[in-house]
Symmetry: C2
Subunit: 409 residues, 2 copies
């Protein structure tokens, strides 16, 4: 049994006309003799409409009830789409989270998929040619409805593909695929034919919106081939898959950036054991994501501690640390909102040195000052003044010849 | 464990303000220490909105998908109401058809309840003080969502009350209870304190809208005490319950009428065996509900056959019978749209003669001509010219002193 999984977002199913277009996408693999699992989101705007009802009803809506409430969005889009498809003579049915079943933990609003029962899905695929599955939702052990959090339909699709061992999981989106960098930032940006899971994860964590990060983790874990492609054309998009030799021969696959950052410095912190924990534990407790951290060399028993947080969390971060001023024992707290992160990403870096230094040189040639640096096996990130973001992205894109599809020299 | 079941319709839950009023009704038995099962309909207008979406999507919407679609209406009202209640500190949760579970057959759109699992509901009632259950919906064996047909929430409430052996099933509505007759037709109409199941069934089958007929059948079968009462006051309404002696001492409990009737006559039908089947089988096949039937005494081997059908089915009835004109062998088909049925109903009739003749005399005194008569153990129905409906209802109401609460003389 050849199985294709296809996922369409809220914009793609927002009205009858759009659903008719989606139907054409579904009929292609169906007519080629594949069984198709179509994963749908709620019609655009519906989830927000329901959430605002919840806010009207309660200052602090019960999360389990909120999940039961918003899950109706996908229930509606799936029932309607199945009607449409059935009218074309396709043997199909809608499948809700509890019917599949997509079993999750009971963390309402941000549940994690625990298990998808292959047996039941396979049985349904024997009876029906197309299953129209509600994305974003599942059920916990007691059969209560859960949701996977925003963008969870991507994860639903990948998890279903993993469960039934689908040939491919196609994620339809409003862009043609994954690009070497943001085309709005750099007109030379090129669509990638292929990208490794780890690279995609780094791109996603830097704010590339094309795939939800958890869906990529899932795809990597279960080795699901994901095809990110456009709802508006039949052109192939980008395959997200396991690292292979051809990828390793590419030094850098993409340039990502994140303007949503702020830099905070604690001046003249006492350099003594435990001080890092004193600073960062209370931030972690408030779920503030501290990213780059630099501790200057100590001088007279004092050091400066610099780190980045999402810009939206700056005020809270400052408030927390000012309360702890005497406990931590620093002299001054400064912050800088005008910073951004620019990263070069590529699995090819693992086996090649000199990538970081080539990046630094290219930025220096354009007089872009680097405020902080952090590196991982497959990523080099520079914090820079945010007015240089576009210049830095273009410079690095050019430096690694990404417009051409660069290969190891 | 004392359990109260309460059912509220779509108008009662149509917005936040209305739901707050419903909450007060729920908090009353809750504060008295009862466990409460609240059965809700979809917010007014929502079911029709969803059905019109279905019609837009498909000329002939798949019934199973339509059920999954419209069941979201109750899912939304229940989730919101549970949020509201939870905010008041009440231990509560919403319960959908598949979660209760309310097991039905798979006649989508008009499913019948097969079984409600008492064990699971009782376990939930141990954990929660109030269960907010979605009315109108259930699930079939394969866990697909079903709906019970219009007004099915009444049946859900009664069935749940039967399953958990509730002390009472309160059906909240926009009228204060069940009346001796339609108060819009007769200002002397009096609210009944009590009515027997069989009487309520006859009233409902004559178009009294206060309770869905299947819910009354269910209540009778499982001996559930139903309390029909007003959403807008705290006054007691009408108890629908088993026949008892006090009821039998009442000759007539109510006067019902049905203006939605038409009379059809086949003139000069050959009076031979099988002719009734020839006429009525094809009508039954098309689910046309033939009610009163009269066959005149035969003369020269010919008879006239007169019967009533719902007015909406007249055209189809005529079409069917005209096609069969030569097969049946009648001379002429006439019809009369200007007729209505008026009935006197009461379990007390069983043990008392003279009720019918008293009714005929009262109508005759007012010069109301009776076109057809049919009687059952607890009902006498007269077909009359529909312009006399109001007069007939008032005359009969007066004749049996219903404004006073009549007793056997």
């Amino acid at each position: 049994m050849n199985i294709v999984v296809q996922k369409f977002g809220g914009t793609s199913v927002r009205n009858l006309e759009c659903q008719r277009q989606v139907m054409q996408k579904v009929l292609r693999p169906y007519r080629e003799g594949n069984k198709v699992i179509v994963v749908l989101s709620a019609m655009a705007g519906e989830t927000n409409r329901l959430l605002s009802l919840a806010k009207e009803w309660s200052d602090n809506p019960d999360p389990a009830e909120a999940d039961s409430l918003v899950s109706t969005g996908e229930q509606i889009s799936c029932a309607l789409f199945a009607m449409l498809l059935k009218q074309q003579g396709v043997k199909c049915r809608s499948v809700l989270g509890f019917q599949a079943p997509v079993k999750t933990d009971c963390a309402y609003g941000k549940a994690r998929i625990v298990d998808i029962d292959e047996t039941k899905l396979k049985a349904m695929l024997h009876e029906y040619d197309v299953l129209v599955v509600a994305g974003f939702q599942g059920c916990d052990e007691s059969l209560r409805i859960t949701t996977l959090g925003r963008g969870g339909s991507d994860t639903s699709a990948v998890a279903l593909a993993a469960a039934v061992k689908a040939d491919v999981c196609e994620i339809y989106t409003d862009v043609p695929g994954v690009f070497t960098t943001d085309p709005n930032m750099c007109s030379d940006a090129r669509k990638l034919d292929k990208i490794a899971y780890d690279e995609m994860l780094e791109m996603a964590s830097m704010g590339a919106k094309v795939l939800q990060i958890r869906s990529v983790e899932f795809a990597k874990k279960y080795n699901v081939t994901v095809h990110v492609r456009s709802t508006f054309s039949d052109e192939p998009g980008t395959i997200v898959t396991q690292e292979d030799e051809s990828m390793e021969s590419v030094l850098v696959s993409g340039i990502a950036y994140d303007k949503d950052q702020a830099q905070i410095t604690l001046v003249h912190v006492k350099d003594q054991p435990g001080v890092s924990a004193q600073i960062f534990s209370p931030l972690a407790d408030q779920k503030i994501l501290v990213d780059m951290i630099i501790q200057n060399p100590s001088k007279d028993g004092l050091t400066d501690m610099t780190f980045t947080v999402p810009r939206a969390d700056v005020d809270q971060t400052i408030k927390i640390l000012e309360k702890l001023k005497y406990e931590i024992g620093y002299e001054e707290l400064t912050h800088n909102l005008n910073v951004s992160k620019v990263s070069i990403i590529g699995v090819g870096m693992r086996n090649h040195s000199g990538v970081a230094s080539r990046a630094f040189r290219a930025l220096a040639d354009e007089n872009v000052n680097i405020l902080m640096i952090s590196t991982s096996e497959i990523k080099v990130t520079c914090l820079i003044d945010d007015k240089y973001t576009e210049l830095a992205v273009r410079t690095l894109h050019k430096a690694f010849s990404l417009e051409e599809g660069n290969h190891t020299e």
